[in-house]
Symmetry: C2
Subunit: 265 residues, 2 copies
Amino acid sequence: MTNRGTLAVVGLGPGAPDQLTPAARAAIAGADVVVGYRAYLELVAPLVAGKKLVAGRMTGELERAREAIAKARAGARVALVSSGDAGVYGMASLVLEVLRDEGWARGETPDLEILPGVTALASCASLAGAPLGHDFCAISLSDLLTPWEVIARRLEAAGAADFVVVLYNPASTRRRRPLEQAHAILARHRRGDTPVAVVTDAYREGQRTVVTTLDRLLAAEIGMTTTVIVGSTRTFAFEGFLVTPRGYAEKYGREGAGLAGEGAP
Amino acid sequence: MTNRGTLAVVGLGPGAPDQLTPAARAAIAGADVVVGYRAYLELVAPLVAGKKLVAGRMTGELERAREAIAKARAGARVALVSSGDAGVYGMASLVLEVLRDEGWARGETPDLEILPGVTALASCASLAGAPLGHDFCAISLSDLLTPWEVIARRLEAAGAADFVVVLYNPASTRRRRPLEQAHAILARHRRGDTPVAVVTDAYREGQRTVVTTLDRLLAAEIGMTTTVIVGSTRTFAFEGFLVTPRGYAEKYGREGAGLAGEGAP
C-alpha cells in the first residue's frame, strides 16, 4: 500500500440504493473515510457502516470540502458525497476552488476523481413523465450566494426563450419570496394553464409528485427537497404526466428525419 | 403469471456498465423484449443476451416507440432503452405522445415506468471538472425537428443571461452549420477566452476530454457523440478542468451561509 491519498467526489443520485451507480457505490465502499452532510450519509448507511465518517451541518460545505482534501492529502482514500450529481450545484466545484487556492496541481496528492450521478432534474422528470424532451434550463432559487438580480435575469430569459425551467432549491421554511417572484416572472411569459410538476423526495420515503399548472403553482406544497419543473409552451399534460415533445415540425417530427437523441452515435 | 404487459423506458447512462443504475439494469434483466437503437443495445450486450431484441436504424425512433408499445400491449415485459437519461431528448416523450394518440389511460396495459439515468450533461461535466456548479441550459443544435429560429433565440437568451450552456447534438458529419452559428451567437456574449469543454464518447471506448476556449471551439473535433459545455462569465479553467463556482458574493460564498445544494434536505 502506498500513501497516495485519493479523493472521490461522488454523486449519490436521488437517494434510493437502486439509483446509485455501481461506480459511485464502489468508490464509497473502497473509501477509508466518507465525508458528507449527515442526511446524505444516512441515505447510504449500510454502505458506510464501519468506516470513519465526517458528517456536519448542512451549511458546512466549505469545511467538509477542506476536511475531505486534508484527509486525502494525509494518505486516506476519501469519498465526499453529494446527493444527485456531484457537479450540479454539488460539491465538485467547491473542491476544485479549494484545491486551486491550496496550489494543487494534477498528478499531485490527492488523486482526484469526480463521479457523476442521477441529478434531480432527471430523477424528478422521470416521475413526472417526460417534461425534459426538449431544451431546458436549471435555475437555483437560492439567493444566499447569488444576487437576486442574476436569478431574475435568468428566469426572464428562460421564460422569454421558451425553455422548460427546472427550479432547484425552490423554497425553504424561511425562504419563500424567491419562489413567488419566480412565479410572477414566468407568468408573464407562459399561460396560466402551462403544466407544472412539483416533485418532492424523489426516490425517497414520502415521494410525492404533483402535476399542476402555473396558475396554481403557489398553492402546492414546496420545500427543501422539492424540485419544480415548469413546462414550455409546447409542454402538455396527459394522464397526470408532463410531456414536452421533441419534434416541432409535425406531430412526431418528420418520419425518418431522425430525432437526434441524447448522445446519439 | 398474468398477461399484463409492462413497458419500462430506461436510461442507460453514458454507456459504461458501472454508470448504469441498478434499477435500469434490473428492468433490462427482467424484460422479455429489449427495444433500442443498435448501438445502445451493444452497450448492454451481456445484459440482453438471449432476449428478443428489436434494434433498428438511428432514425427509427417512432417505429421503435410504436413497436415497444405494441409488444407490451400484447403482454410482454418490454424495456425500451435510450442512452443517457430516457427523458432528456430521449424516448420517454415520444412514448407518451404515441400512448396519448392511441387513447391509453393510466391503469391500462401497458404498465408504464420511466427510469432515469446519468444524462450526458452530468457524465460529460464530471470528466471536465465542475462546469455545472451554477445555473445552466441544455440546448440541442439539431435543426431537423426544431426551426433554427427557436434554437437561435435560446442561444441568444442563454448567452445574454450568463447561463453555462450545454450543447447536445452539436454536429454530425453532414451538419456543421448550426455549431458555427451557435458559436457566433455565444461569442457576442462571452469573451474569447471563456473556458469550453468538448467531451466525446464519455465513459466509452475512445473517451476524449478537451478543455479549450470559445475562440478555439471550432478547431476542436466535434461529432455525433460529443457534448460541448460553454462556461459562463464566472467559469474558470484550472489544471485542465472547468470550474463554475457556486458562490457569487465572495470567494466561497459567505462562510456558514449554506450553499443550498442539489436536493438539499
